[in-house]
């Protein structure tokens, strides 16, 4: 009889470990799925940037340094393969684009250009969606991190190679802006 009880407890323990492990796998997969949503928006942004740069060049050709910075950031972002790598590269691209947005304020002709206005509207649309996708991704990441670090998940996580993952932030300066829900401009 005592043997049966011991066996029973062991079996329960094994099932418990399995369910904890599966829970961690599920959360990790959800985070990766959430990144796929972000990826869609990022790719659209990559496609849009060359057109935007082409338009800007026609009016502000001497802003070479700025244009180059955006181009380089885009190339680096497209070359990144891992989630962490993409996050880092996209942060560079976002800040380069933000710089461009500030700089074009000095060119009234450019700001009156229909094509440019349309591109900028599209870009702001993509960035709103990006902000929304990022909120979901960060929520999924937080949930995963909590499970990895809190007891008893941390016991399983340590032994099976689950580790804390990074959030998708846009650096310190833009974080405050991005914490707000997306704002639509027309």
């Amino acid at each position: 009889m005592p043997v049966l009880i011991v066996v029973g407890v062991l079996v329960l323990l094994v099932f418990w470990v399995i369910s904890l492990y599966n829970g961690l796998v599920r959360l990790r997969n959800r985070r990766e799925n959430a990144f796929a949503d972000i990826d869609v928006q990022l790719r659209q942004r990559h496609d849009l940037v060359p057109q935007l740069l082409e338009t800007v060049k026609g009016y502000a050709s001497h802003e070479k340094e700025l244009l180059l910075r955006v181009t380089e950031a885009r190339t680096a972002a497209m070359a990144a393969t891992t989630i962490d790598g993409k996050i880092a590269a996209e942060q560079q691209l976002s800040s380069a684009l933000a710089g461009l947005k500030v700089q074009v304020e000095a060119y009234p002709d450019l700001k009156a250009n229909q094509n440019f206005l349309q591109l900028q509207e599209e870009l702001s649309d993509i960035e709103n969606k990006l902000a929304a996708a990022r909120r979901f991704f960060n929520a999924a990441t937080t949930e995963y991190n909590n499970s990895v670090e809190a007891f008893p998940g941390n016991l399983i996580a340590r032994n099976f190679g689950f580790k804390r993952e990074v959030m998708f932030d846009l650096g310190e300066d833009t974080r405050k802006k991005m914490d707000e829900p997306p704002k639509i401009q027309f």
Partner: protein
Amino acid sequence: MQYVGLDKQIRKNNFNSVLLLIAFPALLLGMGYALAYFLKDQHQMDPNELFLQSLPVVLGAVGVWFLIAWFGHSAFIRMATGSKTLDRVENKRVYNLVENICISQGMTMPKVYIIEDDSLNAFASGINARSYSVSLSRGIINKLDDDELEGVIAHEITHIKNRDVRLLIVSIIFVGIFAFLAEVAFRSLRHIGSGKKSKDSKGSGAIILIAIVITAVAYFISILLRFGISRKREFLADAGAAEITKKPYALANALRKISGDPLIEAVESRDVAQLFIDNPKPSAHKSASWDNMFATHPPIEKRIELLEQFM
């Protein structure tokens, strides 16, 4: 961060949906048996046998009804409210608001419909990812600013997310079947009353009795359903919307504007009315406590008050 109580509400709604799906056929069979038992004298048959004979017919009829309603409900509701599809090209503002909220919640985007009505109202419906939809009136799109409209859409998205809409549609289908039975019972009652004098007065007496019983049961169940699908879900959806948009004051403003003119002329049925963000059929006698007791929506002042506490 999850709004406390939402997960619980999802589980509760799923459980209630399943419960309804089981309880309803059981109830119907019980009524069928009672009917067979009362009619046994008239037909000179064993009630069990009569019951078993009519069983396939009854189950078949209800099954067909349910399937039609299950697959056709979105078309029926669109007819009942006179809504039509809203394209991205036609109204990018609204489409983007819905899409962005869905992306931030990681859910599939529901269909977006528009009701051509200058009043302010909105509702969600559907039973699965394919049929989920959000309908907005022309008035609510034009008269609310982006933040307010975002709050309203987030409210409807929350209804979809925590499965309120599915439970509601299931209950509407069932109540509809009972209402139909009651209608049939009353018709046949009138028919007997006005038609040729029945020789077997005992039989028609039984039918009258049964008709009354069926009607009473149908009405009783519809009341129970309205209480079971608690009005709390409106508060939960408001809280969920505040959680999604982080702008409870915008939704409070929206509710204030909506409460001024929620009347959608196209909406006739009270069953459809319970879907809306605010009752589209405000009653003439507002003070009556009867109305309060059976109201499909909690008073809007109370909802605004709660939203303002979020700040």
